[in-house]
Amino acid sequence: MNPLAAIGRAFLALLEAIGRLVLFALSAVTHIVRPPFYPRVLLRQMVDIGYYSLPVVALTTLFSGMVLALQSHTGFARFSAEGAVAGVVSLAITRELAPVLAGLMVAGRVGASMAAELGTMRVTEQIDALSTLSTDPMKYLVAPRILAGFAMLPLLVLVGDVIGIFGGYIVGIYKLDFAPAVYIDQTWRFVEVQDVVSGLVKAAVFGFLVSLMGCYHGYRSEGGAQGVGRAATNAVVSSAILILVFNYIITELFFAK
């Protein structure tokens, strides 16, 4: 077989997949803004994504803040800069760790579940049944999930910011012997509005991407139980990769000089 033909075929397949995904995303977004709307479905998704992801996001950011305080303290001690611990923890949490870790956690919890749910609905003909009941499946199933992901991840990250900084504070006060007032003062002095805003923008984008990939892979699932399993795996892997890629792009947009 001609190796160039194989490369060309793979490249064309990649372009086709990107095209399909972009068309799916555009269709989903247009359904978000056009009636009819399904507020009950939207509310259920918001609770599922926002409320039920709280424990996992809280635990992740809490321990990340704690570890960061410990690590930065041991690192900074080498050049007598222990005083920067509070600032480093708050900047790292708000700019990077809270949005990225929350995004990855939600991708594992929600993205996989969306893909599995929609995939099962596809293989059991529930999506076809929606079409026969005067309901557009894109509008009823996909649009509310994407809107909920887009809206709820920033709220989760906001909570994660507070908990992550609190984790650093706990270690700073009880393990590294910082004075509470000094630690809090350092945190306030380092963190700017832009740091928090950039994290929330990232969260909104990640929320959109996680829901989009969960819905996309689930909606297009085929081949029975194996296909549903593959859809869930693909949803998590593609969400995680896109989160990391878009994390760089958004960081570049916000902070590159």
Partner: protein, 259 residues
């Protein structure tokens, strides 16, 4: 509405291929208003695809499907929803929505089409459940809590809740024991008669076909190879039909191994 002498559903030259596999190779079929037509045929002959084309779930490659004389192939969005609002469909596996209780499943089409508010739709849903022999206590259960036969009844209730004038039945008795299958057949006959609806069913269960059909059409290799009144099925003189209704392994029909 269909004009005098004009069929309710007229399918002409329907073609559909999935990749290399040509499933429909020019299906021609008429279903008259108020008539119950059953399409029989082996697995993988394109029965489900034909119905899905009529419902707009699958887009045919070519051909025409006239509903009350109006072309339905290629309809999108609101136009498709308007056509589908007059149709009901009983899916092979029931296709009940797992996340909704039974009564919401039954009421779904009524609310979606804007015929009823959610609150007003509940009594209608319970009434329709009663029509298929299920008590109001079933309305609060989730589909996963029901037996196969009960799920089929709920799916039937969902298909008829909006009082459609065309109902499609996809393998309505698959997976049911003979007694429950007969109960479902009776319910189908009763509901279709009561609604005065046109019914197009697909099955490979001959007992079911004989019970619910006014007319039977045999689909083989993507084409209708025989069509006639149910009373003539045993003397069709068609080798495909004879082999199929007698369930013989030998004959002109060769079963494909792959879909």
């Amino acid at each position: 509405m269909s004009g005098p002498g004009e069929p309710k559903i007229r399918i002409r030259g329907l073609h559909k291929a999935f990749g290399e596999k040509e499933v429909l190779r020019g299906v021609d079929l008429d279903v008259g208003a108020g008539e119950s037509v059953v399409v029989i045929g082996g697995s993988g002959t394109g029965k489900s695809v034909t119905v899905k084309c009529a419902l707009g779930i699958v887009e045919p490659d070519s051909g025409s499907i006239l509903i009350d004389g109006a072309e339905s192939v290629g309809l999108k969005g609101a136009a498709r929803e308007a056509v589908n609002a007059r149709m009901g469909m009983l899916f092979q596996g029931g296709a009940l929505f797992d996340s909704l209780p039974v009564w919401e499943n039954v009421a779904f089409g009524l609310v979606a089409a804007g015929q009823r508010t959610r609150r007003d739709a509940k009594p209608v849903a319970l009434e329709t459940l009663a029509q298929v022999g299920l008590g109001p206590e079933v309305g609060g259960l989730m589909p996963a809590e029901l037996s196969g036969g009960m799920q089929k009844r709920v799916a039937l209730a969902r298909a008829i809740a909006a009082r459609p004038d065309i109902i499609f039945f996809d393998e309505p008795t698959t997976g049911l024991d003979p007694i429950m299958a007969d109960v479902i057949n009776d319910l189908i006959v009763e509901c279709v008669r009561e609604l005065g609806a046109t019914a197009l069913s697909i099955t490979h269960d001959m007992a079911s076909a004989r019970k619910i059909a006014d007319r039977i059409a045999m689909l083989h290799d993507g084409r209708i190879v025989w069509s006639g009144p149910v009373s003539e099925i045993d003397e069709s003189g068609n080798d495909f039909v004879d082999q199929f209704i007698n369930g013989r392994a030998t004959g002109p029909i060769r079963m494909a191994v792959r879909r």
